[in-house]
Symmetry: C2
């Protein structure tokens, strides 16, 4: 096994040298070829996927996970559209970020280059395989993918189809490889291939990401959980507050930018809480509230200490009345995962203070937290939402999958 895995790493490194020099037109041709090949091989993909589904059903996988594992012909078409969309995005590689001419005449240029070899560890969602392969190819990176073992048959076919399309365009098959066959041991080796793998991007549950962060010596970009807060300031308009809160909680649950905790300024509590919470309950939301809220809105469960900072990912909402903007900022500082937090207010000074003092990847004023999304932000593709402060923070698009290089051009300068 040792040699086969090392071969994958070596092949990836060799492929990365090719991909880093591949012009945009060729990368786009390859993406088009991948899209075509996925469509042509749709039956083969769906058949392999059916095997995975059967095995997982036999293993007692939950319905929700089976749904995420499943690829239908229609879903393959969706993947094909996504690949074509990625082909249409601007190429980040080669972008000049800045530079200068030094007093001694040296010309400095900082240009955007690929990371090189990017590893990803994710769960049994074969759409992620295609998505990552396309995004990484477009950004000039080589992919080493470790999907959940439950999707191994599907991923094997997908990577084979992608590899053939790459070869048909004169690019190395090793630009997209899977290590599913190496099981957990493969994941461990990937996480410790420092110097051979440039960056790891885990995707999936909080526990998967935290395991990768802890076990990896390769630098990791953490895409984190979202314990998202909205604070209704004393001056919040009822209709705006209600629309935004309802949208942030119910438009889609189970996503990281959905609302989890609502904080309400004491001075606005009786004005705002009854109708806002009533509308949520009518939409099926269970309210977990502190005593002060329940005094105004009795139709709520009593909140326990576990409700603050809890990522429900379901139709549940924690609600708390706070005495001041400062208390709201303090609560968010303690309980937020620093993904997205918002204030609804008509008070300019409070808006500015919230924006300055809440230390989250995205801080919003008078908008639904559901807008924290690479697509909504106009990035085209999204790799995830970074909740770490190093390298990338917030929605990550193609640019966030790149590094930089300094080029220094002289005519014989040496240092005094």
């Amino acid at each position: 096994m040792t040699d086969a895995f090392q071969q994958i790493l070596d092949d990836a490194r060799a492929a990365s040298l090719v991909l880093a020099q591949t012009p945009t037109t060729v990368k786009n041709q390859a993406l088009a070829a991948i899209a075509d090949a996925l469509l042509t091989n749709s039956d083969r993909i769906v058949t392999a996927n059916a095997q995975d589904l059967d095995l997982s059903r036999g293993d007692g996988m939950a319905e929700g996970l089976l749904d995420r594992l499943q690829l239908t012909a229609e879903r393959v078409e969706g993947l094909v559209r996504a690949v074509r969309d990625i082909a249409a995005l601007p190429d980040p590689i080669g972008e000049v970020l800045g530079g200068s001419t030094l007093p001694n005449g040296l010309h400095l240029t900082q240009v955007r280059v690929p990371f090189g070899v990017v590893g990803s560890i994710y769960e049994a969602r074969p759409n992620v395989t295609v998505d990552l392969a396309a995004i990484l190819l477009k950004s000039g990176n080589v992919a080493i993918l470790r999907g959940g073992s439950a999707a191994e048959n599907t991923n094997t076919v997908l990577v084979d189809v992608i590899g053939s399309a790459l070869e048909n365009c004169g690019l190395p098959r090793a630009a997209v490889q899977t290590i599913d066959a190496f099981g957990r041991e493969g994941a461990n080796r990937l996480m410790n291939a420092r110097g051979l793998v440039d960056v790891l991007v885990p995707r999936g549950s909080a526990s998967l990401i935290s395991a990768v962060v802890n076990d990896s010596s390769v630098p990791v970009i953490e895409t984190g959980a979202g314990v998202v807060h909205i604070f209704l300031d004393a001056s919040a308009e009822l209709e705006m507050a209600s629309d935004i809160v309802h949208n942030a909680k119910t438009q889609r649950v189970g996503v990281c930018n959905a609302l989890e905790t609502l904080l309400v300024h004491r001075d606005a509590a009786s004005r705002l809480i009854p109708s806002i919470l009533k509308k949520l309950v009518e939409s099926g939301v269970t309210i977990h509230a502190d005593d002060a809220t329940r005094a105004i809105f009795p139709h709520a469960e009593p909140a326990t200490a576990e409700d603050w900072g809890h990522e429900y990912l379901s139709l549940d909402l924690a609600v708390k009345i706070v005495d001041s903007l400062q208390d709201a900022i303090d609560h968010i500082g303690v309980h937020s995962t620093h993904h997205t937090d918002a204030i609804i207010t008509n008070d300019m000074a409070n808006a500015e203070r919230f924006v300055a003092e809440v230390d989250s990847a995205v801080v919003m004023v008078n908008a639904s937290t559901r807008f924290t999304d690479g697509g909504e932000f106009g990035f085209g593709a999204e790799v995830g939402i970074s909740t770490q402060k190093l390298h990338a923070r917030g929605p990550m698009g193609l640019r966030e999958l790149t590094s930089t290089k300094w080029i220094v051009r002289g005519n014989g300068q040496w240092r005094e």
Copy 2:
């Protein structure tokens, strides 16, 4: 110990909230106050340092390390000048990096914010304590410093002097703290304070940095070793090549941007090697060369496999003749630490190919590798030279010690 250490982390977090909101003028006043206080307390600092020197001398510390540990009144004055220089640099915090107005009217702005709490682990060089404190303060970050235990007395006084100056300016003393008193256990806790410490910046030897990289669950910015190469292409001009090579090897040894391996194109070997190596030998350089080089220049030690990719940090140089540009790029790909690599050439196409294909933080054409330096690049201050691809690559200045935050301003938008 547990509580005292946790208190340091908690105090640092609280101080980071203050520092993130501190205006540039106040930070600059604090830096000026620190500079003044260092000067006023010079005797106290030098006395504490003398204790450290005595203890280390008793422990048999090598002369070179003793020199790095020593602070004289003159060296304190140098530190004071450095602090004042940092005060004069532009404040990176608050810089707007970009943004857009989305079709739905949402205004997006990406602004530069501090990391928050930055830890650093370094060796017994008390000048680093002052340097890091000043750079981190200017960039709005709180510092938790772990210097070598041999400098504990000096660092204690330095941090005390800095803390008093901060307090006199109304800033929290906890903005700069030392954990030297907690020994190795403190370093371990710092490396595993994920979520409490935002970033770690180790400074020092390759082994120290590699230990931090391996043991830390906090994200690390790796400032790495420099196995620096220069390739003399077939068209290299003798005088330019000789000046640059001599400068890169001998102007200062023991630094990460000094030349370690010279590669020479076979077609230029007999024209270039004799006089270039002769001049180096006259400056005291020991040449470790392959057989082809020794055939032209017998006054060289035979190179062994260990010489390629070796960071001498001394008056030693590995020299090898290669058959082609491709061979030079391949050798660098295998043996470089991807810090700085340079080509000396008159051939435009070869220069461009070298620049594109050599995957190093800084790639140079016709210039001495000694220019890879934050000061030379015009960054003012330098925290180190990053050899990793995540977050920062190459010389790191104040900007590289920051993160970003997205601010989204709306007027009631919610997602369809």
